[in-house]
Symmetry: D3
Subunit: 134 residues, 6 copies
């Protein structure tokens, strides 16, 4: 299996609901350094997994819709805890949609799965990975 990964980041405010979150129930924030790993079984005709320029641009677009926001105010996330692991899932879904839509180039449809990791500090990170539907 081949993979290519790109890194970017976004910065948000949010709060959590539930005793399990302790002091994180208060409004606070985070920088998330995001790694997206694109995977496929064979290289495309250009000898690549994905056009890395388009992949980076696609990720930047997805993160721009979250960056510099208070996620508590986002209608999409109403009633959800925007935990690191949940946000990894959200970004996975949105990058996958871009792939389906052809935004990462025609060959990107040959991608088989995606892993999205969000680093919230030097001692904690979360990830979501899943196959890509066709």
């Amino acid at each position: 299996m081949f993979s290519v990964s790109v890194r970017d980041h976004f910065m948000i405010a949010h709060s959590f609901k539930g005793q399990v979150f302790g002091p994180a129930q208060k409004l606070h924030g985070a920088t998330y350094v995001v790694d997206v790993e694109f995977r496929r079984d064979e290289l495309d005709p250009d000898g690549i997994v994905v056009d890395i320029g388009r992949a980076s641009d696609g990720l930047r677009d997805v993160l721009a819709a979250l960056n510099f926001r208070n996620l508590d105010d986002e209608p999409t996330f109403r009633g959800r805890n925007t935990t690191t692991e949940f946000l990894a899932f959200v970004i996975h879904e949105r990058v996958a949609a871009k792939i389906s839509a052809g935004d990462l180039g025609p060959h990107a449809r040959g991608l088989t799965s995606l892993r999205v990791a969000l680093h919230e500090s030097h001692v904690a990170w979360a990830a979501y990975e899943a196959k890509l539907g066709r």
Copy 2:
């Protein structure tokens, strides 16, 4: 698949038996920076993989039983080479036991597998991963 990872470290002395270890047959030591990745298929009712506070505390407890020791003197490891890969296995076993015992919270029993990686320097690391029994 979702995952959450936490990082901590411990510092030990030890020596190895066997020609393959060369100069590491002498008493020396290591700092191990430890990453534990907790995995599950679906998020729990709070929208998390595991209570990260409890996960960090659980890992700290497991490492405290190793930290600032000469592993050559530990009865548990008698006759074993406490290599990086073997220690990854030991920590995996001990964190898994804590999960079974409910120390990481009731929802942690939904965890399906665990990966433990030990970084011994900027150029070498080892890991052990396995499913969690129920």
Copy 3:
């Protein structure tokens, strides 16, 4: 010159005032990974720069007063942009106060200067350094 450095982190929400901040004028947040470098000319009688346990605890205390907060609501910062560089200064001041108060041990009064660096992402960080008054 000798130095010892310790690392910790905190997570906050805030917003900035001023056109120069662009989208960061909206409420957002950040994880700050904090490095504090303690400096002195000669080692103390124990052969150390500072008691690293007390230094880490002292830093944790200072960060606990900021962690999981919306800095826009903190009276101390009223009318100030809590930029990364400004927060480095604030933490410098607070750690220096702990040193003066003897919280880092009696020998810590031999420290001559302090550097505080705050990493806000994998591509941006800020620092403040200054001598310690006696």
Copy 4:
């Protein structure tokens, strides 16, 4: 599953053919920081995954055949784009050949799979992983 990983690097010049590569069609270069992960189900009789000294030496040999080269001039790569993902495959193949040849020690034949990751910058990396044939 157990794994041991070692890190090394090499520095090359090359150019790419194909519009998808944009400015990288011109002769340029890269430092590749290479991580090789050796995997097996059970530890060998010495309690290790692989002799880490031999593994590091084997990787150094493989990289020495690429280091300080203009890959456009290498007959082996004629007509191929030496992309990061393709080079991960090449190094995988060459390290696997060393394992088969017994260069990493007799027990290394118990290795089941290999993952080779090449970091081309702080924001992009690629990998190839595959089982080892016997």
Copy 5:
């Protein structure tokens, strides 16, 4: 003293002249991960060291003039070994010129010094630092 640092990278081919360079006398290449540290004694009226957006853009412009090049073909560097330390100096000079020209904003003229570090691998880096003339 306050500082703000930003990170970016560029990828080039080059060769060196002189026996001291050994195999690096052949055409090869490098990825340089570049950190620029902007320094000043007091924060500007917005509470910042420099407009980080403009600083990042300024650095990107400077690196764009080097990126994806064979430095052996650049007239500017004729007769010079484009070593990591020399390139740190070149980038220092070019970022300083942008500051003088007002490209990083009017307050950036209050910057007092600059440090440019180039990481060529995980085990080697070089830097140049100097005061800024006015």
Copy 6:
């Protein structure tokens, strides 16, 4: 000022004397990842700070004399706590001696100062820096 830095590591056992060290009074160990920064005002005739090959070899030699040892048994360190900061000083002294002896090449005598940093974990490091005598 120009600088070039190289990284290497060593692994030792030791124990400390003094209540301030708490559990580290017991025999334990550490991996130290070592960064040596070589500094000078002007580049040498080859356009470099120091021959990076010789600098790396020199550092490896210095670390080889410490690597895989129990420092409590080393006559040189009798009656001393081999703290991270003290070991940074020791390595500084030994690398400086190599420079004086001409082991890093004739131009290395133009080096003006040296900084040695030892990373003992992902959250703690120490350094010693001083001018080089002539």
